[in-house]
Symmetry: C2
Subunit: 268 residues, 2 copies
């Protein structure tokens, strides 16, 4: 990708997720690219993507990218693993602006760990059934073993505010206990909701397993095309396709601060 000079007109970065989980990634980008304006879109009318068909997800993504471009975005970040898994090829073919997905940078970061011989990916049913992680890791390194586990109850558990509960612990054990007999070096939390379960997951897995931070991975990728900065921040914009139940509570939990300029719009 071509590096964009800081002398050009400041680019606006469009970032989207199926819901509010992508705010965990925006949180990292706000720290590293403090002088750029981000336009966030959460497709809360169609949430969750993790149980929807590939065809539908591609259609939703196309509508969202059209919307973000109409708002001035010149770089797009897909802060959603399910959307990255099934829509990235379509979107890159259709649009000529840079599009950063969440999967390739996460794989790149995990392969930078020298001792990494086996990676486990946790994700939604859509992400895991797409085999995107395993296929892409094997393209880059044939020696690495990849295990993939679909964890469809993790999103509703987080949306219910139960991420540190006994129930979350038991659900996490149901998904993660079968991994104990395997020798796993690193773990990818392949859904933007899953970082909220970090403590619960950390307690169950072996202490030597490295958990990959997808926010850092995307930030590293964006640094390839934009100079990072800690100047004063432009006002970000926030859009959703529906105002969900407990919106404010969830948004501030993911973003770590309150937002009060969220607009609801209908996708076309």
């Amino acid at each position: 990708m071509n590096k964009i000079s800081s002398n050009n007109k400041q680019p606006i970065i469009g970032i989207f997720d199926s819901g509010l989980g992508g705010l965990t990634i925006l949180n990292q980008l706000n720290k590293d690219f403090n002088n750029y304006k981000f336009i966030y879109f959460g497709d809360t009318a169609h949430l969750p993507y993790g149980t929807k068909s590939h065809q539908s997800i591609i259609k939703f993504c196309e509508q969202i990218v059209d919307f973000l471009i109409s708002k001035g975005a010149t770089i797009i970040i897909i802060a959603c693993h399910s959307a990255s898994a099934v829509a990235i090829d379509f979107l890159r073919k259709k649009y000529s602006i840079p599009i950063i997905d969440v999967i390739q940078p996460t794989i790149k970061l995990s392969l930078m760990i020298k001792s990494n011989k086996s990676i486990c990916v946790l994700g939604t049913s859509t992400t895991i059934s797409s085999n995107t992680y395993s296929e892409n890791i094997k393209k880059l390194s044939t020696n690495i073993k990849v295990y993939e586990v679909a964890c469809p109850l993790f999103v509703p558990i987080v949306e219910e505010g139960l991420e540190n509960s006994l129930i979350a612990n038991q659900i996490a054990e149901m998904y993660l206990n079968p991994l104990k007999s395997l020798s796993i070096d690193s773990l990818i939390l392949g859904c933007t909701h899953y970082p909220m379960l970090y403590k619960t997951i950390k307690k169950i897995i072996h202490k030597n397993i490295i958990i990959i931070d997808t926010g850092v991975a995307i930030s590293d990728e964006l640094k390839q095309i934009l100079p990072s900065s800690n100047d004063s921040q432009n006002d970000n914009e926030y859009y959703v396709s529906d105002l969900p139940y407990r919106f404010n509570e969830l948004a501030s939990k993911f973003l770590k601060y309150e937002i009060n300029n969220v607009k609801q719009i209908s996708l076309k």
Copy 2:
């Protein structure tokens, strides 16, 4: 409502839910109205409704009713508690054909239990926050106490096939244990997914509590306008707005038999 004579041209009945849960209701109607054709629509692209805004749900329902009418439906059944709770007034004002919701018939059936002094309603966040059950019960009987409990994890638990698991039991205990100190006479399973948790719920609640069957309630209401029949069955049609993950498995679980004529369409 006017009774429709069986000598008229056979009416076609449109029935819809946010997903496949409404098939539990269709299952009962198939038994009691075996000579009528049903057109089922599951809005799987927007599922679950239980966490969406009232405004969005009304828009989805309008598009679905337009679709069902375009397919020849002359009676509409809303086999979804969230949609019934927020969209019934709008739909009855807009359309002149009979529209049966799931809430009014369920309340009617529960008030027919003579010893009923207190009712507990379990539902999604949307259904419970709408207060539709409590307000409508109080309109009909001021002496009855109504308790309402939002159980947002029940739908994902059923969709994951975990309805009879230890985890389902613990989640059900989390929602239902606070009811033990209250004197509850009857329980309404206010979401079409919840009948799949019947055994799990039955184990936790007091054995004297009567669980109301919403399928029977809607069938009783339909009998007010259509003569029931056990003649040979017309072929039902099935439509969804997305083909979800594990569609066939879920459909046959809800409906108790396999279907192979499901078509996916886009709502307008």
